[in-house]
C-alpha cells in the first residue's frame, strides 16, 4: 500500500498516538452523543484517508460485536425505571432506562475505541509498523515481529477455514440446526485441521527464518522510521485537542 493519502504518509506511531487519543476521549465522555461524534470523527478520518470503503467490512463486524455486547449487558441492570419487558407480567427480560443508557454508552465507547484499529492497519504496511516500534519505542524486534506476524496471518487463516469448512461439508457434515452443546462439539472437525495446519505452518516459518539467519546478530533495516513536520503537527494537535476536550467535558 504505497502512500495514497496523508494518512499513509504519517509515521505509524503518529497514528498510534491518534488511536490512544481517541481511546482516552472515549473514557472521558460520559454521554452517548459526544461518543457518537467521536466515532463519527474516526470514520471521517478514514474517509479523508480514502480507506473508508476498504475498512467497511471490519466496521460492520465491530458493529455486530457491539450489538451482541449490548444485548448481553442490557438485561443485567436492575436500577431505574422499567421501559420494556420481554415476557410481560414477569421480571424476565426487563430493560430499564438506566440500563439502556449505560449499555448504549458501553457499545458506542467500544465502537469508537476499536474503529481506529482497522484505519491503522489499512494505512500502515506491517514492515513500517515494526520499524517504528523497534526504532522509536525500543521494543525488542522479536516481539514486534510476533505481533505483526499474528495480524498478518488472520486473512490466511480465514481463507484456510473456509477451505476446511468446504472439505467437511463435502463429507456431508452439517453445521446447522443442533442444540448449543452439540453445535460447540461440532466445531471440532473445523477447529482441529485448522489448528494442526497452523502449528505446521509456524514450524515451517521458524525453519525458513532460521535458514535466513534470523537472530544471528544486530539487524539493520532498509527504511528507517522518521518523524516529519506533518507527524509532529498531527501529534501535537491530537494531544492538544484531547486535553482541551477532556478539560471541557470534566467541568
Amino acid at each position: 500500500m504505497p502512500g495514497k493519502s496523508f494518512l499513509h504518509k504519517l509515521n505509524p506511531l503518529t497514528k498510534v498516538v491518534w488511536s490512544l487519543a481517541v481511546i482516552t476521549l472515549a473514557f472521558v465522555y460520559q454521554q452517548p452523543l459526544p461518543i457518537l461524534s467521536l466515532w463519527a470523527s474516526v470514520l471521517a478520518v478514514a474517509l479523508i484517508g480514502k480507506v473508508l470503503r476498504e475498512i467497511l467490512p471490519a466496521i460492520r463486524g465491530l458493529i455486530i460485536f457491539a450489538a451482541i455486547f449490548f444485548l448481553f449487558q442490557v438485561f443485567l441492570i436492575d436500577e431505574g425505571q422499567v421501559v420494556f419487558t420481554l415476557v410481560p407480567g414477569t421480571g424476565i427480560g426487563r430493560i430499564t432506562d438506566v440500563g439502556l443508557k449505560a449499555c448504549t454508552m458501553l457499545a458506542l465507547r467500544m465502537l469508537a475505541m476499536t474503529s481506529t484499529i482497522p484505519v491503522l492497519l489499512a494505512t500502515t504496511p506491517p514492515k513500517d509498523m515494526i520499524v517504528a516500534f523497534v526504532e522509536k519505542l525500543k521494543v525488542p524486534y522479536v516481539y514486534a515481529l510476533m505481533l505483526v506476524t499474528s495480524l498478518r496471518f488472520i486473512p490466511t487463516l480465514q481463507e484456510e477455514l473456509s477451505l476446511v469448512i468446504q472439505a467437511q461439508r463435502a463429507r456431508a457434515y452439517d453445521l446447522e440446526g443442533r442444540n448449543i452443546i452439540k453445535r460447540f462439539l461440532a466445531l471440532i472437525p473445523l477447529a482441529l485441521p485448522l489448528l494442526l495446519m497452523s502449528v505446521q505452518r509456524a514450524r515451517t516459518m521458524a525453519i525458513s527464518m532460521e535458514t535466513r539467519a534470523f537472530g544471528a546478530g544486530p539487524r539493520t533495516s532498509l527504511h528507517t522510521s522518521t518523524f516529519q513536520l506533518l507527524d509532529i503537527g498531527v501529534i501535537s494537535s491530537c494531544l492538544l485537542l484531547t486535553a482541551v476536550l477532556a478539560v471541557v467535558s470534566l467541568h
Binding site: E160, L163, A167, R169, A170, R171, Y173, P193, Q200
Partner: protein, 281 residues
C-alpha cells in the same frame, strides 16, 4: 448424470469466474477439466457439489438441482477430493477418519464398518486402519482423503488436483486408483495441471479459459488444437508434440502416451509389432 445449463458464477467481490458454460457428462465418463490458473476450474467443481450455487443457469446432478439440494444431500451423489488432505483430516485414526462421512449420512454398526473396510481396501490402506493419519506420508494422506470420500459411495467422483505435491510414483498410484474406480462404474471429473496424466487417463477433456468453455471433446481431439490450448496457457504433452509432424505425414497413428508412441515407432520401423524384442528396450 451431470448437466450444466448456461451456468454463470460471480463471486461476491464481483469477479466473474464462469461466464455461461453448458455441457453434459454421461454416467461412467472420465472427464478432465483443464485450463490455466484462474480459468474457473475449481469454481466449476465447487458448483458441482453445491458448495457454491450458480448465479445464473443451473446444474443437474442425476436430476437433482444443485441450487435446491443441500450440500449434505449432494455429498451422497458427488464425492469431492480436495487438493490438500490436511484440510479435512482431524481424527486420531484412519478408521475413524473414514467413518466420518458415512456417519454424517446416518450409517452405523455393521454397515458402517463394511463401508470403512471396503474404502480402505479400495485404496490399499487396510494395514494402516489404526494408524494416526497425520503420521502417514502426503501421498498416503491423500489416499486417506480419497477413501473417506469413497466410504460415502458417491456415483460421481470430483477430484481437484489430487496429485499436487507428490512425487511421480505417488501421483501415478493415485491416478491408477482413480482409473480402477472409474472402471468400477464411477463417473470421474478431474482437474489437473499434469497434461501427461490427463492424456494417459481421461477420455474427454473440457478446456476452460477466462470462465468460458473453449473446447470439449475426446482428449486426442483436444490436444490436437494447439492454437486454442495456447490461448489458455496450456501445452500438450511432449510426446504428442513429438509425434505430430510424423502423424501429419501419415507415418504414425495418433498417440497419447509414451508407451503408445514407442509401440507405433517400433511398428513403423520394422513393419511389425513384435520387433520391439529385436531393439534394446
Amino acid at each position: 448424470m451431470i448437466r450444466a445449463e448456461n451456468i454463470h458464477f460471480t463471486y461476491p467481490n464481483g469477479f466473474q469466474a464462469l461466464k455461461g458454460l453448458s455441457f453434459h457428462i454421461k454416467a461412467g465418463e472420465f472427464v478432465a477439466v483443464i485450463g490455466q490458473n484462474g480459468a474457473g476450474k475449481t469454481t466449476l467443481l465447487k458448483l458441482l457439489n453445491g458448495l457454491l450455487k450458480p448465479t445464473a443457469g443451473r446444474i443437474l446432478i442425476g436430476g437433482l438441482d444443485t441450487a435446491r439440494a443441500r450440500v449434505a444431500e449432494l455429498a451422497r451423489k458427488v464425492g469431492f477430493l480436495f487438493q490438500n488432505p490436511d484440510h479435512q483430516i482431524f481424527l486420531p485414526t484412519v478408521r475413524e477418519e473414514l467413518a466420518f462421512g458415512p456417519k454424517n449420512l446416518g450409517l452405523k454398526g455393521a454397515v458402517l464398518e463394511d463401508r470403512v473396510k471396503d474404502a480402505a481396501a479400495a485404496v490399499g490402506l487396510t494395514p494402516y486402519l489404526d494408524f494416526n493419519p497425520r503420521q502417514l506420508s502426503k501421498g498416503q494422506r491423500q489416499r486417506v482423503a480419497l477413501a473417506s470420500v469413497l466410504a460415502m459411495q458417491p456415483e460421481v467422483l470430483v477430484l481437484d488436483e489430487p496429485t499436487t505435491g507428490q512425487d511421480y510414483r505417488e501421483a501415478l498410484e493415485i491416478m491408477r486408483l482413480v482409473k480402477k474406480l472409474h472402471q468400477q462404474g464411477h463417473t470421474v471429473l478431474l482437474v489437473s495441471h499434469d497434461m501427461e496424466m490427463v492424456a494417459r487417463f481421461a477420455g474427454r477433456a473440457l478446456v476452460l479459459g477466462e470462465g468460458q468453455l473453449l473446447l470439449d471433446g475426446p482428449v486426442a481431439t483436444v490436444f490436437a488444437r494447439e492454437d486454442v490450448l495456447a490461448a489458455t496457457g496450456l501445452v500438450p504433452p511432449q510426446v504428442i508434440q513429438l509425434a505430430r509432424p510424423y502423424q501429419e505425414q501419415g507415418l504414425l497413428r495418433p498417440v497419447l502416451t509414451v508407451e503408445e508412441l514407442y509401440a507405433e515407432i517400433i511398428a513403423a520401423l520394422r513393419g511389425e509389432v513384435d520387433a520391439r524384442q529385436v531393439l534394446p528396450a
